[in-house]
Symmetry: C2
Subunit: 321 residues, 2 copies
Amino acid sequence: MQSATQLVSLFEAYYKKQKFDQRYDVYRAMEYIMTMNGKRIRPLLTLMACELFEGDIKKALAPAMAVEIYHNSTLVHDDIMDKAATRRGNPTVHKLYGTNIAINTGDMMFSLAYRYVGITEKPHMRKLCEMFNKTVVEVIEGQSLDMEYETREKVSEAEYLEMIKGKTSVLLACALQMGAWVADASPKDQQKIYDFGLNLGLSFQIQDDYLDAFGDPKKVGKSPGGDILLNKKTILLLKTIELAKPAQLKQLNQWMIEKDKVKKVEGIKKLMESTGAKKYTEDLMNDYYLKSLKSMKAIKSSEESKKPLLQLANFLRAREK
Amino acid sequence: MQSATQLVSLFEAYYKKQKFDQRYDVYRAMEYIMTMNGKRIRPLLTLMACELFEGDIKKALAPAMAVEIYHNSTLVHDDIMDKAATRRGNPTVHKLYGTNIAINTGDMMFSLAYRYVGITEKPHMRKLCEMFNKTVVEVIEGQSLDMEYETREKVSEAEYLEMIKGKTSVLLACALQMGAWVADASPKDQQKIYDFGLNLGLSFQIQDDYLDAFGDPKKVGKSPGGDILLNKKTILLLKTIELAKPAQLKQLNQWMIEKDKVKKVEGIKKLMESTGAKKYTEDLMNDYYLKSLKSMKAIKSSEESKKPLLQLANFLRAREK
């Protein structure tokens, strides 16, 4: 069994072997984002899941590539939609190449992702196509909900969870299932590794929202409260609204239109605590994390072989930014 | 064998049976463009090719849907890139829904296209995935070249042909091959029907450029010369530059910066004629048309069974707009 570092190296070596015709701006733009210090979490999940079920890791490289290219393609289009100027400290693709090339680059990467699904060395790849397809559609539905919620007055907790499930979790889950499928894991085990990823993803995304408000500024690496300043409908804010007593709700509405940024962030954070929304969010994050561990436990593989994925889960959970 | 009208009805009935969750803006936007009076040329090609090789037409409906949804997804993104306000007389998707939803809608349609490839009722669909994938990548490469040519000073005829091959022809060719594949046509016949589509597509796109300059204004339905006014690098302009004598080139350069629109169009059209570029373009268009007929002739099916596709080819060729 190989360590995470070894698996990432394997993936990087595979990536470097690919030839993309540099005459085309879309391939140059693609290489730009693909080599922008991503953590390679998703391909790592595919490779680790393949190892967990004792599959041939070489056959998992193509689907690992598919999920990583697809993930990055969503970043290219999302950055256009969010008008984001930087990503991982670098200019975004549309800032560097212009919006038109960025749209086309995202489309190209999307197509290439399917190419890698298609060249996965296993017979009867219909199932692989199906799981990738289903996931991609769900990711876009998640993005669609996210945009819709921006202009909506009320969003329920269930609706919020449906959205982050699409935007974040299903691709992590799919990355894992693809690796398990390559390794001929049983349908039951495929479902369990999928559930492991799904719940881990939910926990991860809730934590993202949480750290944005309550992370240690020194460790988050950016001034916290970005979501609060934008009145973004995170689980923290939704829950604060839901749990607030009339007087608290009145306060909240005042803070939401407050111009002083520091006061606004501090004011709303205090309400998140006093209403119990902070505690609720911590519990929810933990619940999903425990659920993911439970799914992993139910998989019929040795404890030893589960270690790398559990370490990765723990690494994601322990992050402070 | 069914008529074109019957096949289009079959396709429309299949489309109407699909359920797209109208809660999502992306599906509403998709339905908007999908029911915007498109001519359904591409799905028709898939269905006709299936009939030509005596396949089960029901099994060709899913790939026909895939090509039509994919084609429309490219229109949604192209319209954003071109800043086009209308399409087929209606507001474009990004004008009606905003650019963000339009980007997301194009992405969603792209994914759905793959879903329909994936549900095609035939075992061992790797080949189908491959041909669709290859085509999609080529279409985007074509779009990439098209954008690059806008800012380039010199574009050769070969480069122009490479670009229109990607932007237009390969999808027509793929639509046909998918229908032939469903019908279990031999690899040789699949190649021939592909070539038929490829050459027909090249002829079609050259004709598009030609009609924009030399079409009958009453029939074109818009004031002609749109490409000329934009100094667009069509085959007509490229060839005029190539064939022009020094004095003609000087004239051309003057016309290209002329402010009076009517004078500019008339002046450049005259040069297209006097340099021989118009005649060259007509010949090229005819050559590709004849090549497409030759590919069709080489297919081992009855003359009777080829009629619908030949009629469609003739219909496309006889169009005056």
